[in-house]
């Protein structure tokens, strides 16, 4: 039977709406409005997890996103499961299941807990020191570590939820809806700025909604009464959009912020279906007002991590907001007045407060006096030196602090308690501020890092800028709003504030114990089990940079990124090394502020939207005819067309023979097509290709090779002159976009005087390539009135014609070495064209072939494929294509580089043909080529770039790049493979029809 610690009704908790949920398999009840943490605490469950290294029992410590301990797995075992979720942020719903992480086999009995007793052997850098050597140890430890030290489990089946992205543009973005954020948003919107207010919580108002210190008044009301009215008013303001459950994850330059909006995580499963779960907001704001608040710090003392030890502010929130008492015997430990507010909050609800331990000598504020008056025992100048209780705190021992705060004296007093509220002061949440690229400054008096500057685009207001008291907040906020929004009056002008002044401060980063440091466990980073001891050890071992100490001790490297303990780590380093904290600086605050799901990051870009596919107009036909496809860039290209269960090899052999013996047809629609017009079009081509274009007659085609300025082959293709000032250029499939970009670059920046216009028309045309000795007869059937004689329509020429009423452009060009035609029609007629060709070619056994056969056929002819036989280091000379490089032209892109000493070296890798001595052995593409087998180390001469079994030559053929290959014709070389050495002979790369007789056949 568990205790019920629900102490009073709260307006934020709907006690008529009882909710059951499971934690570690056991059913509990809470109410609508509870977080998993508040509901567990109401059931007196503090123990929720184990620490990462020592597996020490850990309890709920905070009430917000800074939680280091209560990290749970939500919905374990189903496809909505999510690891590393903070129980303090999970709103409960009927049917919610959660379980502890980092404990095996269970949170109550955890085998890793033995690490706690072995902890002398787990000092800072333990993992680096132990598992680095000997290497074989790692395998032995791995099983144990993987089981006992995991941070949750990722889902094993696909995510059923929908995620979304949205762009938002606003005049003013206000981050954080506490008192400062609300006032900022209100005044911004009222002054006609389009304003967006976001807060990570589901309710507005921040901590002010439970700020009931009777000595603080805003307009004669308690802060909580006052802010509720303000929140009510916000709802009727135009120009103001409010998003709750929205956490800003990242603040990039130029006021570009990413926020995660949670839409369904708090709903029951039946209400989650078919809704967007989380939305990534991409916000561009003209001005950003950061009102991100401050996080309470704990205090660092011996055994400060037991379940039941919590932040004082969290205890207050659980009591005031959720109506939950975190313990029945409460003690507070503090260095400032805020713990007295928490204590009085409990006292006023009839919850027992045993004592307040205060490291200060005194404080005269009204709330402190009040606590004294009601009889709460206060121990001034005392510190906690130890705590007891394994799975739950049951006592603390305290001793008097020395004047300098470095030791304790006198006798030890033990106080029995089950809950300890710790108040170590406030740390401004400057994470987003620093992410935006701005620097921090250290405030010696307040012992905090603060934003160093406000700009016209960004201000920090409220406690994140170091204003912790309501009067300071209102006064400074008012001035900043007037300055940044350029307004003369605000609502804040008339706000009257009375506050209870705090007049005493004392800060000790590491509190002493009666035991030596080595015998104590003062935790600084709870999640990663880094203690003050570890930090001091790191300093002794010579680490100085805060970034190095962080990585060596793992302080601040957990899922909470050390939101609680980073300041103490810095303070301890500064004290130990004798430097000022301001000089030490901070570690880098990296996005995201709180973890994001992968779903949020990718949004809708999943499944078929993950990457774009481009399909040709003939695609349906290929699918219907059972083509296999390959990806070429973004294109899905027909690869081969297997029939009757053929393997790829069988299909390609059949297709290749058919194309040479009768007729084949290829879908060439993916080739890049650029329409070039203008009075300087010919001159332009002269400059971008290696060969000469001025004399190309209208209606003629020419192959061109395009280089980079460094002389290396960049792209190739056939360009046709359609008119005096009109060309159509084809590019490789993969190179189309880059070629267009490069040409535009030269035209706009180097040669703006040229009258040339470029238009990408790749998608506008569908292209069928008809090839083989019977291609002419097939084309004749389709276009009977076109004169196909060699005299009228020779190789490398172009005709316009009509197929029925469809206009087409026909180029007689060939990538296979066969007599062939490329027929281009408007894309929407592509499939019709294809079908007409198939129908007309039926009597000739026309055979559709894919990219693999195309590659084989061109390899037989020794035609290169840019990107396969070249790799950005091959010049035209290396490719033995000297014939295409004009000697007469004064200049073209890359020309000068062909005469650099390096590009003229004779021992460059050059393209050659390779024939295997055994014609049945097909070399592997990428295989290395050597001339000596018994050399060590063996010298690599080059590698195989293309290799096929040629059905037309009935032997294996290959193209390769070989150092000095040009002069190696007939030379015997070797291709050493794993189990054998293959004997090869260097050959002419043109294997088939060297005299090009078939082109004109």
């Amino acid at each position: 039977m568990t205790k019920n610690l629900r102490v009073k009704s709260s307006e934020y908790i709907d006690e008529t709406n009882r909710i059951s949920f499971k934690f570690n398999g056991k059913t509990y009840h809470g109410f609508k409005g509870d977080t998993l943490a508040s509901a567990l605490l109401a059931n007196d469950v503090h123990l929720v997890g184990r620490s990462f290294k020592y597996h020490r029992p850990r309890g709920i410590m905070t009430s917000g996103s800074e939680e280091p301990n209560a990290i749970v797995q939500i919905n374990p075992g189903n496809n909505r499961t999510e690891p590393n979720v903070r129980a303090t942020e999970v709103e409960i719903y009927e049917g919610l299941e959660a379980s502890s992480q980092n404990c095996w086999p269970s949170v109550e009995f955890d085998i890793g807990g033995i690490n706690n007793f072995l902890s002398p052997f787990f000092p800072a850098g333990f993992y680096y020191k132990t598992f680095m050597w000997p290497a074989s140890f790692w395998e032995k430890y791995e099983f144990f570590i993987r089981h006992s030290a995991g941070l949750g489990k990722s889902p094993t089946s696909s995510d059923p939820d929908i995620y979304d992205h949205r762009n938002i543009h606003c005049d003013v973005l206000v981050v954080g809806a506490g008192i400062s954020g609300i006032l900022a948003a209100k005044n911004s919107a009222k002054n006609n700025f389009k304003t967006l207010l976001v807060d990570e919580k589901n309710e507005l108002g921040g901590s002010t909604v439970f700020e009931n210190n009777e000595f603080n008044k805003i307009n004669n009301k308690t802060p909580s009464e006052w802010i509720k009215k303000e929140i009510e008013e916000l709802k009727n303001i135009k120009n103001l959009e409010i998003k709750t459950r929205t956490s800003v994850a990242a603040y990039h330059q130029y006021n570009y912020l990413l926020a995660r909006e949670n839409l369904t995580d708090h709903l029951e499963v039946k209400d989650k279906t078919n809704k967007i779960r989380q939305r990534l907001l991409k916000i561009r704001a003209k001005k950003v007002i950061l009102a991100t608040g401050a996080l309470e710090r704990p205090l660092i003392f011996n055994n400060n991590d037991r379940p039941g030890i919590m932040l004082s502010s969290a205890i207050k929130k659980y009591s005031e907001f959720y109506g939950v008492a975190c313990g029945s015997k409460n003690v507070f430990f503090t260095n400032n007045d805020s713990a007295y507010e928490s204590a009085m909050s409990l006292y006023n609800k009839g919850i027992n407060v045993e004592a307040i331990i205060d490291i200060r000598e005194q404080s005269e504020s009204k709330i402190v006096k009040k606590a004294k008056e009601v009889g709460i025992k206060i121990y001034w100048s005392h510190s906690i030196v130890d705590t007891t209780g394994y799975k739950r705190l049951n006592s603390i021992s305290i001793m008097k602090l020395s004047n300098d705060g470095t030791s304790v004296t006198g006798s030890k007093i033990s106080i029995s308690c089950d809950c300890l509220g710790v108040a170590g002061g406030w740390t401004p949440a400057v994470h987003l501020y620093t992410q935006s690229g701005n620097k921090l400054k250290f405030d010696e008096e307040k012992k905090v890092f603060l934003p160093n500057q406000n700009t016209s685009e960004q201000i920090s207001v409220g406690s994140c800028s170091g204003d912790f008291k309501i009067d300071e907040i209102i006064k400074n906020l008012n001035q900043k709003l007037k300055d940044t929004l350029n307004i003369n009056e605000t609502d804040l002008d008339s706000i009257k504030v009375e506050i209870d002044h705090e007049n005493s401060k004392r800060n000790i980063w590491l509190l002493p114990s009666d035991k030596p440091l080595g015998k104590t466990k003062p935790f600084v980073d709870y999640q990663n089990d880094a203690t003050a001891k570890d930090i001091k050890l790191a300093l002794r071992e010579g680490f100085r940079s805060i970034e190095h100490v962080k990585r060596y001790t793992t302080t601040g490297m957990g899922t909470d990124q050390g939101k609680l303990g980073n300041m103490h780590a810095l303070g301890i380093i500064a004290d130990t090394a004798g430097v000022k904290m301001g000089e030490l600086g901070t570690t880098t605050f990296r996005p995201p502020y709180t973890p994001l799901t992968f779903g949020t990051i990718v949004g809708r870009n999943v499944g078929k939207f993950f990457d774009i596919f481009r399909r040709t107009p003939m695609n349906d036909w290929h699918v219907e005819n059972k083509a296999e496809f390959e990806n070429v860039g973004q294109w899905k290209r027909a690869w081969y067309y297997p029939i009757n269960g053929e393997t790829m090899h069988q299909a390609v052999q059949r297709e290749s023979k058919a194309a040479r013996e009768s007729a084949g047809i290829l879908d060439a629609s993916t080739l890049g097509k650029i329409d070039i017009q203008g009075s300087d079009a010919s001159e332009f081509l002269n400059r971008v290709y290696t060969n000469a274009w001025s004399k190309l007659a209208i209606g003629k085609c020419r192959y061109g090779l395009m280089l980079n300025e460094d002389g290396m082959v960049y792209d190739d293709g056939v360009t046709t002159r359609l008119g005096e000032n009109h060309y159509i250029m084809t590019t490789t499939t993969g190179g189309a976009a880059n070629v267009l970009g490069k040409l535009e670059d030269y035209l706009q920046t180097e040669w703006p005087e040229l009258d040339v216009y470029l238009t990408s028309v790749t998608d506008h045309y569908a292209t069928a390539s008809l090839c083989g000795p019977n291609s002419k007869k097939i084309l004749k059937k389709i276009i009977p009135d076109l004169d196909l004689s060699d005299e009228n329509f020779p190789h490398m020429s172009f005709k316009e014609a009509n197929i029925g009423s469809i206009q087409c452009r026909i180029m007689r060009i060939s990538f296979t070495g066969e007599h062939s035609y490329e027929i281009n029609v408007q894309a929407s007629y592509g499939k019709d064209l294809w079908k007409k060709c198939m129908e007309a070619g039926q009597e000739f056994n026309i055979t559709p072939y894919g990219t693999e056969t195309m590659h084989l056929l061109r390899a037989e002819k020794g035609f290169i494929i840019v990107g396969q036989d070249t790799d950005g280091t091959m010049t035209p000379i290396d490719l033995q294509m000297d014939w295409i490089v004009s000697k007469k032209k004064y200049d073209f892109i890359g020309k000068r580089s062909l005469y650099r000493s390096d590009t003229m070296r004779v021992d460059r890798k050059q393209l050659v043909g390779l024939l295997t001595d055994d014609p049945n052995i097909v070399l592997e593409e990428g295989a290395q080529i050597v001339s000596e087998l018994n050399q060590s180390p063996v010298e690599m001469l080059g590698h195989v770039t293309s290799s096929y079994f040629s059905p037309n030559l009935k032997k294996s053929i290959a193209l390769a790049v070989v150092r000095g290959g040009k002069d190696m014709m007939g030379k015997k070389l070797f291709v050493p493979m794993e189990n054998k050495n293959i004997n090869v002979t260097v050959a002419n790369p043109v294997f088939y029809d060297e005299k090009n007789e078939r082109l004109n056949a």
């Binding site: 990039h252 330059q253 130029y254 006021n255 570009y256 561009r284 690229g437 300025e709 460094d710 970009g741 535009e744 670059d745 706009q748 920046t749 180097e750 703006p752 004064y890 200049d891 020309k895 000068r896 580089s897 005469y899 650099r900 000493s901």
Partner: protein
């Protein structure tokens, strides 16, 4: 993520743009007259300044126009943007 003021389109998100390296390196008018060293200077040598740098940018997913930008690489502040062919602002 920069907000870039394309001189032809106005303010657009950085993801619409492509960076094109150092600006104001003119392609030599007579490459064949140059020594290997002179040509290499044009071909390979680029500054990588921490501080104010003159750069080429292209509105690739927009108007496709190239333009110049003056950017402080140490804090990514865009100090000026001007069209191709226009004089760079004096520093």
């Amino acid at each position: 993520m920069f907000l870039i003021n394309c001189p032809y389109c106005g303010e657009r998100d950085q993801q619409e743009f492509k960076a094109g390296g150092e600006a104001h390196i003119e392609r030599p008018k007579q490459p064949t007259e140059l020594s290997d060293d002179e040509w290499a200077e044009y071909l390979f040598m680029r500054k990588n300044i921490k501080g104010v740098q003159f750069e080429r940018w292209n509105h690739a997913h927009g108007c496709r126009k190239w333009f110049n930008m003056v950017r402080d690489t140490s804090n990514d502040e865009i100090k000026a943007i001007y069209k191709m062919g226009e004089k760079p602002p004096s520093q």
